[in-house]
Symmetry: C2
Subunit: 234 residues, 2 copies
């Protein structure tokens, strides 16, 4: 049996920020698979959008993403069409899921935070059905206080997911730092009245993340783990 | 039968720069498929490199890319290993090729350049066997003065491909502008003693291309076509 990452501590140490992680592209190497799955889903309804354009929308809620990309194509938006594209995406992503790997240092970073007594959780725009295998890959305990798309009204870039995540940890959002790979994480962080750390693992450029307000940008979870002092964790 | 793009004029108009285009990610939407194909090829030899890292190497010669990514993994480099990975990549890419589409405005841009009497050609790090279907997609005449990996000693970021392309057009490299989606195109352009225009279609951020020396950055061939005056073509 795979060793599970210990859950974050129930009570935060004083003066230690909590960390709210995005999942896809931040802890698991799954952004490119999602881009392909959306490409496939859009082609199923006759819409041709270049992959780089799709790539730059990954991380926002699926409904918002489908709406935005369909409207770029000039297609008439209906609830049915958006639902069809979302369903195709879920199906197509399932076919690619076996190629998803952990990002370097992902497990080690979470385990070290637990060891240090730093509260952390995962707040993802994905539905539980879409992220279950990623959580398994990470060795996350079922009882860990994860927040998925299903439990909030609006996903990123709305702040709801991160607000719910902080609440679940019992910490103030102002004492939390968001960690994500996309500008949607960073926008949601700012809207939640906190700030974010960017990771290059989602395929954005460093400056794109900095311009979106990232306080620091690291290559991957491993480089972040090696520099925890930079964000006041030791 | 698909309408072919007219070949560039045999003799350039005075005071009109020639344009040397990259192919993958610049005219065809194929960068993400190449990233997956390299990922697949590397996993075949037991090497796990995150997709964003692979993505950022696309556009350099296959041999150089395989060498760099294998060495990142700490694996002992041998000529045999590099050749095996390259072969796996070609095979894996063939399986994804059917999903490659033209980028917005690609055909229209080349056709307009021909109409205006601007010499242009394509200089690609890909071998003829890898790019044949992309050229077909573009409707490029077999007699067009294309330069592929096969006809130079070293591909990008070496300047050879662009030097050979300018020579084939009968224009001086100093009177040529490179158009590409990756920092490897822009580096090769500078090493060839000319400069480049960046397109966002390969999935790099705008600033990454600017920092690599792009004189202008456009979203895609269509936006470049709409702004040809910016580079002195009218």
């Amino acid at each position: 049996m795979k060793k599970l990452i210990p859950n974050p501590p129930a009570k935060a140490k004083r003066d230690m920020p909590a960390l709210l992680f995005d999942l896809d592209g931040t802890l698991t190497d799954s952004v490119y698979q999602h881009a392909f799955a959306w490409k496939d889903a859009l082609e199923h309804v006759g819409v041709n959008i270049p992959l780089w354009t799709i790539h730059r929308q990954i991380g926002m809620s699926g409904g918002l993403l489908a709406r935005k990309l369909l409207s770029l194509s000039g297609k008439r938006l209906t609830v049915q069409l958006i639902e069809r594209v979302k369903k195709f995406h879920t199906k197509s992503f399932k076919g690619l899921e076996a190629s998803v790997r952990l990002l370097p240092g992902a497990k080690e970073l979470l385990a070290e935070l637990s060891r240090l007594g730093v509260p952390w959780t995962i707040a993802t725009s994905g539905s539980l059905v879409d992220v279950r295998s990623s959580l398994k890959l990470l060795g996350i305990d079922k009882s860990a206080p994860i927040v998925t798309r299903d439990s909030v009204e609006a996903a990123k870039p709305n702040p709801d997911l991160f607000l719910a995540a902080a609440e679940k940890l019992g910490v103030a959002i102002e004492d939390s730092i968001v960690v994500g790979d996309s500008i949607w994480d960073l926008l949601a962080a700012r809207r939640a009245k906190t700030f974010g750390i960017g990771l290059l693992t989602g395929g954005y450029g460093r400056e794109e993340l900095e311009h979106a307000g990232a306080y620091r940008v690291y290559e991957d979870p491993k480089q972040m783990l090696d520099n925890l002092e930079d964000i006041g964790i030791s």
